[in-house]
């Protein structure tokens, strides 16, 4: 599954991108759009757009409350979406699935609730230089309250996670390793199986930020034996404002609530309140009902295409992009380690990423330019920012060709 597979054909017999593209109305409304920013947020298939609209038209009411028919229909659909999320990552139980606003909120929840209870001043939490700000700042906020130590695994010369360094950082003080599954900057696939095995051997828990990985490759939380897994709906072709925190049942059961309100309590009096079991304990207030239902449709859609198929497709496309970009004079591709998927970052000699993004946009090529919410990695790579192309199920090699043409146009304009 290495992206460095120069001989592999890009076209995949089992995956018809042109047909997939017809599932996404955005491409009808924006003819010629070359959308290469799925790592920031994915476009939405009809199944999600129409499914959410149909839910509002037919079954809408609040969940977990009313005794009337609509409310129980709404609750059924909401809980069915939880089941879709369970299936998506092969969790053992649906009540290991907590609906949150997204990956960011999932990590904040674990830091606040699990970390607040189980971390002490002498403990250590291991992050890495590849992390998105959302997997750095929540731990810093907690550290400032409790006083534990944060260690960062460096990247190696290829841009991948330095596994040997990770091993050296592990110690009896390590209580948590919170790492990305796939980097949102260079697409590096972190060897999470080994990470989890090594961390567990030291008695540490592992949280994976699956924002980029979950929509791109099969994730089986039981096979991984991971303790917490977080991903966002909007990067998985679902609505924004909804996401999933998976937590092992016994871990969630030990964790205190992090927000109080309706839906999460068992009994309330002014003297004493008792809380519901997970996942409801962590879902205070009326949830994003339509978001969760839309997410369920999105995950079913992805599973319908097949995530092994998606991985093969994006792997081939990533390899093609790396070959084309590396062959361009004046382009420096940011290394993504031994295994890279779905995300390619690069810099252009003499042209700032912001200007590159602008000129690419003029050529109808949508990319992300800047620090990608990963400033420590930018510092480490000694760049102000990069231009990033990232792929989704609707992209094929013609999108990469358009990117290459647009890069040449930028170079021509800047005389670089």
């Amino acid at each position: 599954m290495s992206a460095v597979s120069p001989l592999r054909s890009v076209a995949s017999a089992s995956f018809d991108v042109r047909r997939v593209r017809r599932d996404f109305p955005i491409f009808e409304r924006n003819p010629g759009l070359v959308f290469l920013d799925t790592a920031a947020s994915a476009q939405k298939p009809k199944a999600v757009i129409d499914g959410v609209a149909e839910y509002y038209r037919t079954d809408y009411a609040n969940v977990h409350r009313g005794v009337y028919r609509l409310s129980s229909a709404s609750t059924d659909r909401f809980e069915k979406a939880r089941e879709s999320a369970r299936r998506f990552i092969n969790a053992a139980h649906a009540d290991e699935i907590v609906f949150v606003r997204g990956t960011t909120e999932a990590i904040n929840l674990v830091a606040y609730s699990w970390g607040g209870k189980f971390l002490g001043p002498d403990d250590e939490v291991i992050l890495s230089e590849l992390e998105h700000h959302s997997n750095i700042v929540p731990w810093q906020l907690l550290r400032d309250r409790i006083g534990f130590k944060i260690l960062a695994v460096p990247i190696d010369a290829t841009g991948g996670l330095d596994l040997a360094a990770f091993e050296r950082l592990l110690s009896p003080r390590t209580k948590m390793a919170a790492l990305t599954h796939i980097s949102n900057v260079n697409g590096h696939i972190v060897p999470v199986e080994t990470i989890i095995r090594l961390a567990h051997a030291r008695g540490a828990k592992v949280l994976l930020d699956g924002a980029q990985a979950a929509p791109r490759l099969p994730v089986d939380v039981q096979a991984l034996d991971v303790d917490f897994y977080a991903f966002s709906g909007h990067k998985a072709y679902g609505p924004s404002g909804i996401g999933v925190l998976y937590g092992k049942k016994d871990l969630l059961a030990e964790m205190p609530p992090w927000q109080g309100g309706g839906s999460m309590i068992s009994t309330v009096s002014f003297e004493r309140t008792t809380y519901l079991e997970p996942p409801h304990r962590f879902e205070a207030g009326t949830p994003d009902i339509s978001g969760a239902i839309g997410l369920g449709y999105a995950l079913d859609y992805i599973d319908g295409l097949g995530r092994e198929t998606i991985r093969e497709h994006e792997d081939a496309l990533t390899g093609y992009a790396l070959r084309r970009l590396s062959a361009l004079p004046g382009v420096r591709v940011v290394g993504g380690g031994q295994r890279q998927l779905g995300v390619v970052s690069f810099t252009l000699e003499g042209i700032h990423p912001h200007d590159v993004g602008q000129i690419l946009d003029q050529n109808n090529v949508a990319v992300r330019a800047g620090h990608h919410c990963a400033q420590p990695l930018m510092d480490r790579l000694r760049v102000a920012g990069t231009t990033r192309a990232s792929f989704g199920v609707y992209n094929d090699e013609t999108d990469v060709d358009a990117l290459v043409r647009a890069i040449k146009a930028a170079q021509e304009m800047f005389g670089a």
Binding site: G350, H354, Q358, I359, A369, G370, G385, A409, M413
Partner: protein, 156 residues
Amino acid sequence: MSMDLRELYQDIILDHGRHPRNFHALPEATNFAHGHNPLCGDKVTVYLKLEGDRIADVSFEGRGCAISTASASLMTEVLKGKTLAEAEALFKSFHAKVTGGEPPPPPPELADDAERLEPLTGVKTYPARVKCATLAWHAFEAAVKSGALGASVKTE
């Protein structure tokens, strides 16, 4: 290349972006300030040497896109030798132009300088880039106010 993008990246912008003028620290500076655009990571430091209310010298350092670098470069060129009141009048008229507002007509003696800044006003049709064009000016304003202690401004 499409025409409208050429309006944003006029030759003078590309030239100043590649070869910024007055691009150095100023050891004899009386005032300075850092400007930072957290959205794109652009950073600029503006140095001033004030003699009374006259800008005897002005320079900048930093890293940024072609628009922000060219804007800082052109700014230092037009500000050199101006009084603070003249500088403020130029900034007001420039700011109004790039944000698509109605610019107050610059005093006749500043018309040439306002004209020099004209190529940057192409950003008004690119809202995401307006902050690139104004970053150095905000840093300049902060430097005037802060004096030798320095200051930091963010484009928010």
